[in-house]
Amino acid sequence: MHAPPSPARAAAPVVRLVRALGARAAARPWVTFLLAGLLILGSALVAARHLAVDTDSSHMLSDRLPHRQRELALNAAFPGLNSRFVVLVDAPDADRADAALARLAAAIAARPQALDDPFAAPLAPFFQRNGLLYMEDAALDSMLAKLSRAGPLLGTLAAEPTLSAFMASLAEGVADADRIAGGPEALARVIAATDATVRARLEGKPRPLAFSTLFADDAGPVRRVLTVQPKLDFTLFQPARPAREALAAAIAEATAAPGLGDVRISVTGDPAMRSEELKSVTEGLGLALVVSLVSVGLLMAVAFRRLALALVALAVVLVALGLAAAFAALAFPALNLVSMAFAVLLTGLGADYAIHLILRMEEPDGDWPTTAADLGLALFLCALTTALGFLAFVPTPFVGMAQLGLIGAFGVFAAFLAAVVLVPAGLALARRRPRPDRQSPELPHAVTRLAFPVLLALLVVAAVAAPRARFETDPMALRDPDAPSVRAFATLFDDKATRPYSASLLVGSEAEAEAAAERLLALPEVDHVVTPRRLLPGEDAAFRYDAIDAVAAGLLPQLQADAPAIDTAKGMAKLETALAGATLPEQVRLRESLAALRAAAARDPGLLAAVERDIFTFWPQTLARLETSLAPDPAPRLQDLPAPLLSRYLNVAGQVRVEIVPVADLRDPAARARFVAAIRTVAPDVAGPVVNLEESGAVIARAMLTATLLALAACGLVLLAVTRDPARTVATLVPVVAAIHLTVGLSALLKLPFNYANVIALPMLLGAGIDSAIHLSARARAAGGTEAALASSTPRAVVFAALTTIAAFGSLMLSAHRGVASIGALLLVALASTTVSTLVLQPRALALAERLAARRGPV
């Protein structure tokens, strides 16, 4: 039988290279460190000049996937669907909302260098004319009745917008509510609003009167939505920053107007969320990098008990980081939100090589040639398996993760080379001080004996929990929930009209669109469908037109009257008289505030004029909107629709987008799956954000499984190729497979779902987690058995390498970005599982392998 070559012989070229590199570096340590410093500086400069970030998570999947193809076709036909800021104007009433919206639109229009094409339906002449045609029938009839009844009041104010005329009208209303104000309810509302306005002025906090309270059934808070296209500056790290700053300035300008202090304006939409996401990710990663470098440094200082050696190890990390950053900057046009984490990952992984080398060199026989002979192959194998773990995503369509894989794989080899060069050089500079007090072998033994039953129990629990592990497909679930744009986005779900999760179907004509719409509307999961034709008020709008026209016929002549219909002289006195015997609460309050006003006006002659201003602040806009809205188009046509709106559904090539809006809140993954499955039964080629979520989830889950199996197979083959010992290979892989099992189970138990950011954990766990096993296995072979390996510096190195990696990965949990934090959390769980599994299971597995080898006889 042909005997396999010894691992030492197979590894000879690697060991020779490691020994030679280290020896040369140790011969000229200052030159080595000077060159390392220059390398770090040069890499940092390259990275600073060329690194860019793409925050669109949809770009993380291959464009060749069918759903991405459909998405790209949709985006090509209707560009910019998701590239606009969505500005939400929330106000206590329609008057303030409309005033703020108009001021905001004007402020945005004054900033064309950063913001483009603002659109808000309430400001579009078409909707100002025809807005009432879109109202629900009962609400419209009720509103028109109120409007018609308020005709005398409106007519009086249109002819004479003065405080006296206003109060005279109210006096008439108090005498006969139907006569002037459209009934007791409307009168009560306008009296309460007047009282609030007078009191606010007396308290020195002006609050303009809201006329909309007269006509609205539900005079509650009002939201208006404006969208605006940011002009992106791609020379900046955050291309949307100038647009965001311009929008913030416009918002400040819009709300600075008197009476608009209680208007809240928030910004959301993809550019806003991406911009804030980039900020939270970069800030989070920056903090995580600092924390990881400090904690890794401290751990190494504890491990080495010498600061100089910790600094040597940190130099290894910095060289690896710098080279990887420069590689990333030159190899890719832009990083993504996941691949940005490479810096923190490499901080943890890069330190491992230095720790093993330094601790081995601290042993009494730890000269460089011996260390290189003992660890050269193990370190190379570790770099190889870790790189294979990183690279496992490369053959999958998850191209975003493949990018992290390539950078990570480059980085671990950079760390390996930096370690074998800088550690001997560093130890040549620092006085070598062999460690007399080796790690006591009792502790690992005790730990393994106590921990074995616990680990077995944990594995059983994990087996039960593993089926509940889930995959979170929604990128929104990963964003910082406290980011203003994310908070504003969540409020869009409160109203069906603004719910952001919808699907789109691209068709070739309006007829096809209408046919598809009919099929889709038959599904119980579909709330409504938007097509160009359905943007118009609909066939039954003729009924609404008649009603509006009937009110307009009576009201418009009143609004255009030259003189008021009532005697408006001494209006305040008339109102005071009318309220003298009032018992209704709002009338009593107004009587009191009028008495206070009269008393204050005696001291301040300008006070009544100020109250008049407060009452009529919104009157011009109210009157103009009223006149416009009472003259709708008898039959609005498609070409009358505002172009910014129509172009979202019909393009110049005649292609039509059918927007499908769900009944359910699709933040719920089960509802999302049901919706997508249902609409696919009638429209298989559907695209859009919600379809992307579903498809991406499935693609990433498959990619994770593929990558994990690939990493397992690749690492197993590498180990087998080098050791030529199947039993030892299996013994090395057993703890890692157990750790994967434990990680999946713990992710379910700890409610730590897998997501597009943290799926790197499993293949990386394989690649990096196997390192400990490789080291123990290699040392066992070199030292002549497992017991001897446990008595060496290797277990200590394994523990500290794991601790530094855990500290670095764990620092990611400090990020406010939930995706980045989840990478840290899951990797923490994965590495803790790996370390425990290795220390507990591997000695037993190796002992078994050794017994098997002994039974086979010497080779």
Binding site: D137, L144, R149, G155, A550, V551, G554, A565
Partner: protein
């Protein structure tokens, strides 16, 4: 800079506009006469006919000719029409004219007994006008009453709405009908029409 062509276009526009203005004037005159005639006839009935029953019948007969009962009926039902069965619609169409007549009779009878002055006629479209008038109250002050008259192509003029101080009688009724249908369904509205309870409101 103005050219001869611009003047030519201007004259052409004026030439086209002139017949349109004349048409408007003719229709305004027709509308005015329609309302004046109606008020005169109703006023005469109110003054001469002392018997309540006969007066009501005479007023109804006069109004039936002049009020667009079918159009107003359709208008008042609005979008609720879509919720009604054919049988319910047929009953509604049968009941609603009397309801409208009672409603208009009650409103107009009070007005025509008083002094009236027609101020102007505003044409809203080719066959749609608002005749604006003021009634002097016996108790003092004036009430603005606007009469909306319209005619289909080739059809005689009819009264389609009455606005007292700008408030549309039928818009208010339509809101009441919608609320009723929403609360009690079409059957509830028909029951109210049958009982005559709505007319007195």
């Amino acid at each position: 800079m103005l050219h001869r062509r611009h003047f030519a276009l201007g004259f052409a526009a004026l030439a086209l506009a002139a017949p349109l203005a004349a048409q408007d004037q003719a229709f305004a005159g027709e509308a005015r006469r329609f309302i004046e005639g109606m008020i005169a006839e109703l006023s005469a009935i109110e003054t001469k006919e002392k018997d309540e029953g006969r007066r009501r019948a005479a007023l109804d007969a006069a109004l039936r000719q002049r009020v667009a009962l079918a159009r107003i009926g359709r208008f008042m039902l609005g979008a609720s029409r879509a919720q009604a069965t054919p049988a319910e619609l047929a009953e509604y169409d049968r009941l609603v004219p009397d309801f409208i007549l009672a409603d208009v009779r009650g409103e107009i009878a009070k007005l025509v007994a008083q002094s009236i002055a027609i101020d102007e006629v505003q044409t809203r479209s080719a066959r749609d006008a608002l005749v604006r008038s003021r009634f002097r109250r016996r108790s003092g002050g004036t009430v603005r009453v606007d009469w909306r008259v319209a005619a289909g192509e080739g059809q005689p003029l009819q009264l389609v709405d009455v606005y007292v101080n700008g408030v549309s009688r039928f818009v208010i009724r339509r809101d009441e009908f919608q609320a009723l249908v929403k609360a009690k369904g079409m059957a509830g509205l028909l029951a109210e029409l049958r009982s005559g309870a709505l007319a007195g409101r």
